[in-house]
């Protein structure tokens, strides 16, 4: 405890020193209102001790990066709810910021805001669901959590799994059930088996779209760039080569390419199966058997009054048969193809392909029931 107090005192002195040095150098524009780290610490050491202690143990503290370096002053911090945006971090970490901007993390928030799913959620609760993860566009501390900003932590698969899990995109679950994931779990040694960052951020590259030649997270077939424009074949091949550069750290190039191409084939088959589901529902629409009918329901926030199947289909306010298809495309198709690329056969087959086939049975059976119940009876009545 005494040791801890002594440490606090040391940093208090350090903080005071560094801030007085900064004021000498004329860093602050308004000397009259200027506050220094010592001022912050005098309260926050007691008021938010956990946060303070994390900073004390951080590399930032060691290097004299203190509260005011990032938060500027109390007023500014208060207005921004203490948020510090990537631009600010980029003042020191320029390479990382530039790389970050090339990847899809940097458009996470912007893309979310035009998504039908997001718009279909009551505004006052959107922040509890979507925004918490999609904030990554504006928050380096999504992965490097405040105020330790620990690299060890950010590189751990757990740092990714606060967002990349669950029915909509079970990256964590796929990885954990792959050979890569199981070996890493036992050894905790990235030289033995890769973790998320090994493949997706090799050499510390902050472009999280590195080497990704399929996707993005929706189930649109072609790969698109940050402006949602499909990328040319040469670019796809360049990205594949990028990723193969990671694989060849352990695997032969021929073997690695074969594995990725096998996943491409799995993806194609997954998408083909999904089309069969769509077909059934389109028939139902043609026969005016879906309820509520498209013309009679709330219009889709981005697509209007039209039947939307697969991305950007909604899980709210549709017919039951569409809801069955939603499960098929959103939860199960993604398991098939993404688990293919993550080399998790049990996940890809069991939770993905098998479930898709079962979904198709449900959809076709439901179509048959709708016909029997609402169409044939109608014809009989007319006769």
């Amino acid at each position: 405890m005494i040791k801890l107090l002594r440490r606090h005192l040391l940093f208090l002195v350090l903080g005071l020193l560094s801030s007085s040095l900064m004021s000498c150098a004329g860093v602050s524009k308004k000397p009259a209102e200027k506050i220094d780290a010592g001022f912050c610490i005098s309260c926050h050491q007691e008021r938010t001790p956990g946060l303070f202690q994390s900073w004390v143990e951080s590399k930032h503290a060691q290097k004299g990066v203190n509260c005011v370096t990032c938060h500027v002053d109390h007023q500014a911090a208060s207005e921004q709810k203490s948020m510090v945006f990537p631009d600010k971090c980029g003042e020191c970490h320029k390479t990382q910021l530039d790389e970050f901007r090339k990847g899809r993390h940097s458009i996470g928030f912007e893309r979310m805001r035009i998504q039908g799913e997001y718009l279909g959620i009551p505004p006052e609760i959107r922040a509890a669901f979507c925004e918490r993860c999609h904030m990554v566009e504006r928050r380096c501390n999504s992965c490097h959590t405040s105020h330790r900003f620990s690299l060890k932590e950010a590189r751990d698969p757990d740092a990714c799994s606060t967002c990349h899990l669950g029915p909509d995109h079970p990256h964590k679950e796929m990885y954990e059930t792959s050979l890569h994931g199981t070996i890493y779990k036992m050894t905790q040694d990235p030289a033995r088996a890769p973790r998320c960052v090994t493949c997706h951020m090799p050499g510390g590259n902050h472009n999280s779209s590195f080497g990704i030649a399929r996707g993005p997270a929706g189930t649109r077939s072609p790969v698109v760039d940050l402006k949602e424009v499909p990328i040319p074949l040469e670019e796809e091949e360049r990205r594949r080569q990028e990723m193969l550069g990671v694989c060849t750290g352990c695997h032969s190039r021929r073997f690695a390419r074969e594995q990725l191409e096998n996943a491409d084939q799995v993806k194609d088959e997954g998408f083909a199966l999904m089309e069969k589901g769509k077909e059934s529902i389109r028939e139902m629409e043609g026969e005016e058997l879906i309820y509520p009918r498209v013309a009679e329901r709330m219009p889709h926030p981005t697509e209007g009054r039209t039947l939307v199947l697969a991305d950007p289909q909604l899980y709210v306010g549709t017919s039951y048969i569409e809801r069955l298809f939603f499960t098929m495309f959103k939860f199960h198709t993604i398991r098939v193809w993404k688990s293919g690329y993550h080399f998790s056969p049990a996940y890809s087959h069991g939770y993905g392909w098998t479930e898709m086939q079962l979904d198709l049975i449900d959809i076709q059976e439901e179509a048959e029931k709708l016909r029997q119940l609402f169409k044939e009876q109608e014809t009989k009545t007319l006769k």
């Binding site: 956990g50 202690q53 918490r132 620990s150 751990d156 309820y291 939603f326």
Partner: protein, 353 residues
């Protein structure tokens, strides 16, 4: 290892001389068999703080005969002879009424005796077992503080607290650092400073009703008092006031919105009741069974017992993906299913007439 065991055994020979002067049995008698026959238990005890402090078999189990009659169970009152403050705190919280609550639950009553024992009782016996969390015979507080010790009961469909926590930022940071200064574990928020009142700061029961541990409704003032306690003793360790209040408010909104979806589903079923399509007196939500009902009720069961809980509890645990995808999205999808089922039931009725 052998040397250590020998040392402890000797220690016990010595401690027993004074301690068991009036006891019927001596600990050496226990050890002479149990050191061999249940050596796992024995070894756990040898390494425990109890062993260091001379708390031996007969301190808690009294005698072989008494232990046998109770299947070796030692109840909280006995632990409380030394740990009075912890026992008192424990009795303030919901763990202390968990067996009682289980017995009153219609779902428990509907199960056969072997299923009751294998399913419900194993967790709900926490009312009688300090060693639910401080497992025998190490009784290690460090172990009891780890999220894993809560997980064996607080996981799965009906109460996936473990899954919500593990996928929250709190849980992921803790998983990496195992350091409660960096991020809280279960005990940080629910048992701050080691309080054994696990209802600390909690406003809702598992049904989302604002009630105390005995089911009495909490006034708005009482609710705010509990929340304030949580904020001041826990949240403000790391977060500023405005952000904390905002998070609470957000979770409150989520809870209300989820409730509205449940109400809409309930209304759909009640309408069918009124129309004579379903029999009257259907139990929905609290007290509802997962067996022997109609399909539309079963869909509602999943909504109220699983999906609603994922949504609102997920929100209070700040697990966005869990609350959204396992919770809210599934509530919405179930509502679609309930409405479609209602339409089909009406059509079938029409055809039957």
């Amino acid at each position: 290892m052998a040397k250590r065991t020998m040392f402890t055994t000797t220690l016990f020979f010595l401690s027993c001389i004074s301690f068991t002067a009036i006891a019927d049995e001596k600990v050496v008698e226990c050890l002479s068999c149990h050191q061999k026959e249940t050596r796992g238990i024995f070894q756990a005890w040898v390494n425990s703080k109890h062993a260091q402090k001379g708390i031996d078999c007969i301190t808690c189990h009294e005698s072989h005969e008494a232990a046998r009659a109770k299947k070796s169970a030692v109840e909280p009152a006995l632990c409380g002879r030394c740990h009075a403050e912890k026992l008192h705190q424990f009795q303030e919280g919901r763990h202390a009424v968990s067996w009682k609550g289980m017995e009153e639950h219609p779902q428990y009553q509907a199960l056969s005796a072997p299923l009751k024992k294998a399913f419900c009782e194993r967790c709900h016996n926490v009312q009688f077992k300090c060693n639910s969390c401080h497992t025998s015979h190490a009784f290690n507080p460090e172990e009891a503080r780890e999220p894993e010790s809560c997980k064996k009961c607080h996981s799965g469909l009906a109460g996936p607290h473990d899954e919500m926590y593990a996928s929250s930022l709190h849980g992921t940071v803790y998983a990496v650092d195992r350091n409660t200064v960096r991020a809280p574990n279960c005990a940080s928020c629910h048992m701050p400073n080691g309080t054994h009142n696990i209802s600390f700061g909690i406003v809702y029961d598992s049904w989302g009703n604002a009630v105390d541990k005995d089911g009495r409704p909490l006034s708005g003032e009482q609710q705010e008092h509990l929340r304030k306690e949580m904020r001041e003793k826990v949240c403000y360790q790391c977060h500023i006031k405005s952000l904390t209040l905002e998070r609470y408010e957000l979770a409150d909104h989520v809870k209300q919105r989820a409730k509205a979806l449940l109400d809409e589903a309930e209304q759909t079923i009640r309408d069918l009741e009124k129309e004579g399509i379903l029999t009257k007196g259907i139990v929905l939500g609290r007290g509802q069974l997962y067996q022997g009902t109609s399909r539309i009720e079963a869909i509602y069961y999943r909504m109220s017992q699983f999906q609603n809980i994922y949504t609102w509890k997920g929100a209070y645990h700040f697990s966005a993906d869990f609350a959204h995808w396992y919770g809210w999205a599934h509530l919405q999808m179930s509502l679609i299913e309930i409405k479609e089922e209602a339409r089909k039931l009406r059509e079938l009725k029409k055809l039957g007439n």
